[in-house]
């Protein structure tokens, strides 16, 4: 079998097309995946892509120009559709001024904190044998949370520690869980009557890894709780708020943010600064950074076996849609 030598076809369109309209070479094949030669396919693909991008850029520039020309009469900017703003309807979303939720808030476990009856005092511990990253994370958490105390677990039983912690006046108890040497879970127990929340921790970035980080100061921070819309989110945000002193020192310009987006709670810690004219605000991160995801909320103090769960994430049963969020 000799190699068939193909004669140069006269019908073959020129490669370097300069004429009007698109290159017929690209018009020949409708679906480029039908081209079997990889090099050829790639070549055409990149060409197509380049043209497409060019057209897109030009269209955009044209649009911007038109908008500028219209000035004030320009149509309003379109809002992109995201998973979050097309989320499934949730009937539990708390509306402002809901009497029943207000009554619930006035009588629940956090009511005394919001009445400013006590100052939070936090006990922070880890798993039995914490490794470097976990200890570092705890040390930083101890810094960030005012009035927090980090203790080594020393093989203590949680259920036995809780009554002792209550005795010593602690109001919250945090336990950092670890997996493969890095923090993986955070258990938040509100004392003395619960509730208990368990979060998954991910994307931990310690203070030292944050570039151009601001110097930490020990002022009491302001706390921002964003996007906790549903009834469950409301409870969770109240619980997180309880970890900080109710009276921030505005002088320190420290702000701690718990930002909920698609059920992931992003923790960020910044120092802010207003411009001299007070119009713009600049942020400088202090750190650490991490992300929490709620796994369960249990009534009462920690009792994973006999405790009653107010909410528990059942992954395959509850996560029926990408647009369904719980917080």
């Amino acid at each position: 079998m000799g190699r068939r030598i193909k004669k140069k076809d006269e019908d073959e369109p020129p490669k370097n097309w300069k004429g009007p309209g698109p290159n017929p070479a690209l018009q020949m094949v409708k679906n480029i995946s039908e081209i079997k030669n990889k090099a050829k396919r790639q070549e055409i693909y990149f060409k197509l892509k380049k043209e497409k991008n060019k057209a897109k850029r030009e269209a955009r520039l044209k649009r911007v120009k038109e908008l500028k020309a219209l000035g004030e009469n320009a149509p309003p900017k379109q809002i992109p559709r995201t998973l979050e703003n097309t989320r499934e309807y949730d009937e539990t979303v708390v509306e402002a001024g809901d009497e029943e939720v207000e009554l619930d808030d006035q009588t629940d476990e956090f009511a005394s904190y919001f009445n400013k009856e006590y100052v939070p005092k936090i006990l922070l511990t880890t798993v039995d044998k914490p490794r470097g990253k976990t200890i570092k994370f705890c040390r930083e958490l101890e810094l960030v949370l005012p009035n927090a105390e980090f203790k080594y677990r020393n093989y203590a039983h949680l259920k036995k520690t809780i009554p002792k912690a209550i005795e010593r006046g602690f109001t919250d108890f945090l336990v950092v869980n670890e997996h493969r040497g890095a923090p993986s879970g955070l258990l938040v127990i509100h004392l003395p009557e619960g509730p208990t929340a368990y979060y998954k921790i991910s994307s931990v970035k310690p203070m030292t890894d944050i570039k151009h980080a601001a110097q930490f100061t020990s002022h009491r921070p302001e706390v921002l709780l964003n996007n906790f819309g549903t009834r469950l989110g409301h409870s969770v945000s109240r619980m997180l708020a309880c970890l900080f002193h109710y009276n921030p020192e505005f002088h320190g310009r420290r702000v701690v943010t718990f930002h909920n987006q698609r059920d992931f709670i992003f923790f960020r810690h910044h120092r802010y600064e207003f411009d001299s004219d007070g119009q713009k605000c600049r942020l400088q991160e202090i750190g650490p950074r991490f992300t929490l995801k709620l796994q369960s909320l249990q009534k009462g103090t920690f009792d994973s076996k006999y405790g009653e769960y107010e909410w528990i994430l059942k992954r395959h049963e509850m996560e029926t849609s990408r647009r369904r969020f719980f917080l």
Binding site: E91, T92, D98, E100, V101, L103, D104, T107, R231, K299, K305, Y306, G307, E308, Y309, E310, W311, I312, K314, E317, M318
Partner: protein, 330 residues
Amino acid sequence: MEEASAENMPGSSDDTYHVYCGAETGYLKGINIHKKSFANLNKGSNLDRDYEITVMIWANEDESQIHCALKNQVIATYEADTGFLLDTRDVTAGEGPIKGLEILDQNLVTCSRSGAFRVWRNSRPIELDVGKDVCRMRKSPFSDRFATGGQENDLKLWDLAEPEQPVFVAKNVRNDKLDLRMPVWVTDFRFVDDSKIIVGTGYNKIRMYDTKGQQRRPVSELDFDEYPITTLSLVPNREHNIVAGNTHGRVALFDLRMQKLVYCFKGFAGSVRSVEVHPSKPYLFSCSLDRFVRVHDIDRHVLLSKIYLKSRLSSLLIRTSFQGADLEIG
């Protein structure tokens, strides 16, 4: 809808409430399943966690009044349609919330957590101590006997004609293979018939006791998950079926004859506080700590309706005259 309102029966028209729920904050909620709406019947009063409704029963045969047992040992009687407070009665006895409320010859019978069992009548009031940490007290629908049970307080059956000693005391199951004593924690029970009682325990067991037999130990036993069973209900017209719910929000249908789980109902997010099955229709009502009341079809295993009630719920009462003729999946 039209058919139901044309009949003009109590409970079948659109305006009445079909299910009642007691909340942790003390609200008594009337729920209209058709409209998927609810109303707080005792809205005007000052409420607190002390007013948590722990048990609810119908005060009369025609289901127009409700007795609500509150956590602070008070029985409040409401008119079912309007939520008008008819009567409050202090039933302080022992300590802790009221764990059982029944009616015996138009007298209230209560049992508190600490085990103070009382029949509230003017002549010959009965006072019993049924043991500590009571989780439930119920009256047998077949006779005037009462059963009690709780933490480290096994099932006891009381006959008020001879209140000195319980008629039946359950015996703990045998030690496990390591010869360790099995802990006792009766959380809920129901009377299957004159002699048989089905018990759910905090150690995830469903047990059947035969009080007339020779044996004081359970005659059969079933496992359900790994978490405490909080509530239990019989399925009327189907002798061998029961429904049980647990603290992780799992509600399952069991067949006692087959000794196995038939189906696990979907859609729960929190601990189930109470389940009830409609006496004639295949509806399963449940209320849970996730603040929802759910209606499942017990034959088709589907969720028919769920209603958000804004507060954590602790007790449930259904109107037996509710027919729900056109309850569709929704």
